[in-house]
Symmetry: C2
Subunit: 378 residues, 2 copies
């Protein structure tokens, strides 16, 4: 059922059919190297999030640079990773439903598997499944550090749940999951840092209570691309879970650094290649990539290195370009490179990564990587 | 690379894993019957749009009820349809790029293939490819009837392009593509009708000029689920191209009828089944379907038959439910049925339709249909 790849290895960039999800491999590897250097310099563990890339190829490249394993959000993603040779996977999420939990436990025959809980009923289900599969599941208590989504309240409620985990045969209490998703996208540096420092108070309080109860948090995990330096700075977290840093996107590009500038910490390494399919009307052009090719949940894509051209509207399969007063109008058939608004759901629309070596202008297709966990949502 | 289906034929509804894309087959078939009856009663042709369903199974069910063929937006979608036995396919879009146009022409060895143009360069490329493949391509001139996207201006520009098509060996001039996408979602009945009546003036003008130039418009096509009665009423269009009517969605459900009520013309027949994965916090619950399971480009999904529960926020893999003051709080593990905000991009996130017979409460899984053209974007 998967679609054929939009290019062949050895093709020139111009030969890539569109829309296509293109990795600039040089920029991508520099991003991986930057995060690996940060982990090395600070001594913190990195467990990149596979919900971004959904690709064993990317996961192996991260692990080759020192990452301890992978995170994912879904059992189906974990299945793809484990079966592709990733032996250390945390489902950074609650898993609910007997069939799903049984699949999770079955995976633990083949890999170290961690999972989160915020409810005693989940813990009991994890324990039953682990005993039936004769495995050990590593369970983290998720605490709500400000995102108001999943997670128990910090403090006593977390300790109670941790005790239940520790007392449940088949389960090991692993520690705390303390991820503040919404803080990643706070634009101001000071405000973003403040959100994480508030989260840190919840982590510290809960960690102290865990210690007083004799519960050892081997892992305190969380932190995304927008905030990982802050979590590291607190000294409380010992495992970072960033996803987007490997590719970057337009949304993360709008985060500001200490000086109020848009952060250039990681490079744009993922693009949607598109083609001008209509250029008949004055002042606009239409490309063949709409929101079925580049997700718009966090804003429209931007046009790479064409500040005079705005991607002004997305339909399912059309992207409307609005041209600045002095913009050279793209011609029918022109290639237009889009920077996705949000990388994770954009990747999830495609079956193939087209990996290009040597840049977007003169490069050559070096690899075709399946987006192997695309649509893996159960 | 496709994911395993989330159910087996014969399963009860409760056994469907989540998130899953579920068709209520009874409601779906009633929707198909309603449109077929409309076509029969008015004598108009219907060519449903496969960009909605991306499924030969759905296409065959529509054609069995009298539809003349299918529309799609992409060559890759047309390939899936033709290879699954659909012998009459219109790509209701411009096709740009030599490789793509060659693929389009190759399909015409196996099926009647139509395509749109709004530029002489496209027409020349279509002609070359058609002659090389020794086929006949049927080309419609797309005119801009108000959507400000693709399409030449109505009137003389359209006639010029039609002449070029008619004079190009390998091509047949088929008529006009006059689709007003944005009009479909104008809420007020009067305003929506007015937009189509304005579009009709452009169609009439262009049709008259075509006639004066000796050009026969065999097809005047367009019209979607939100407006097809208006196009029919004008007597100008002779082919309707609705997509969403087979499934419906929350966005189309907000269109108003003549009496200012939300239109109940078609039934909700497509749902995203989800499960409550976290219910620890007061006043809210979290389901396992976020915007990687139900697209949010046209608004959030709604909760089916639970007016006291609002789907208030979507992350990639989490949906946050907000509970009304008197709402019974969904419990961990509860099944929650979501009505997608926009059906087309939601379908495109899934690999499988789970077809249920006998309703969402007590029904049984009758079929698993691949979303065969999912991700077919080139």
């Amino acid at each position: 059922m998967s679609v054929p790849p939009p290019a062949r290895v050895g093709d020139s960039v111009a030969e890539i059919d569109t829309p296509a999800l293109v990795i600039d491999l040089d920029a991508f590897e520099r991003n991986l190297d930057r995060m690996a250097r940060f982990a090395h310099d600070t001594g913190i563990r990195v467990r990149p999030h596979a919900k971004t890339h959904k690709s064993p190829s990317v996961a192996h490249a991260q692990i080759a640079r020192g990452a301890v394993g992978q995170c994912c959000q879904k059992v189906a993603e974990a299945e793809v990773l484990v079966h592709a040779g990733i032996h250390n996977v945390l489902v950074s999420n609650q898993v609910v439903g007997a069939a799903k939990v049984a699949r999770l436990a079955a995976l633990a025959r083949h890999a170290w598997i961690g999972v989160c809980a915020d409810d005693p009923a989940q813990v009991r289900a994890y324990g039953e499944a682990a005993r039936r599969a004769q495995v050990d599941l590593h369970v983290l208590v998720e605490i709500d550090v400000g995102a108001a989504r999943c997670g128990v309240a910090p403090g006593d409620a977390a300790v109670e749940l941790a005790k239940l985990i520790a007392d449940t045969p088949g389960l090991s209490f692993e520690g705390l999951q303390a991820y503040h998703g919404s803080a990643q996208h706070i634009r101001g540096h000071r405000e973003r840092r403040a959100a994480i420092l508030t989260a840190a108070q919840a982590v510290q309080l809960t960690g102290e209570k865990m210690g007083a109860a004799g519960l050892d948090c081997r892992t305190i995990g969380g932190a995304g691309t927008g905030s990982f330096r802050f979590e590291t700075e607190t000294g409380l977290w010992n495992e970072l879970q960033p996803g987007s840093y490997c590719f970057m996107d337009a949304d993360y590009g709008r985060n500001l650094d200490e000086e109020g500038k848009e952060k250039g910490e990681f490079e744009n390494a993922l693009f949607v290649a598109s083609t001008v399919m209509s250029a008949v009307a004055p002042g606009r052009a239409v490309v063949d990539a709409g929101h079925k090719a580049s997700a718009i949940d966090s804003g429209l894509p931007t046009v790479w290195r064409r500040p005079d051209v705005e991607y002004a509207g997305a339909a399912d399969e059309h992207g409307k370009l609005s041209l600045g007063a002095k913009a050279a109008k793209p011609a029918l058939g022109d290639r237009v490179w889009l920077v996705p608004g949000h990388v994770d759901p954009t990747v999830n629309l495609h079956d193939w990564y087209v990996g290009v070596r040597g840049g977007l202008e003169d490069g050559v297709v070096e690899c075709l990587w399946p987006v192997a966990a695309r649509g893996a949502m159960t």
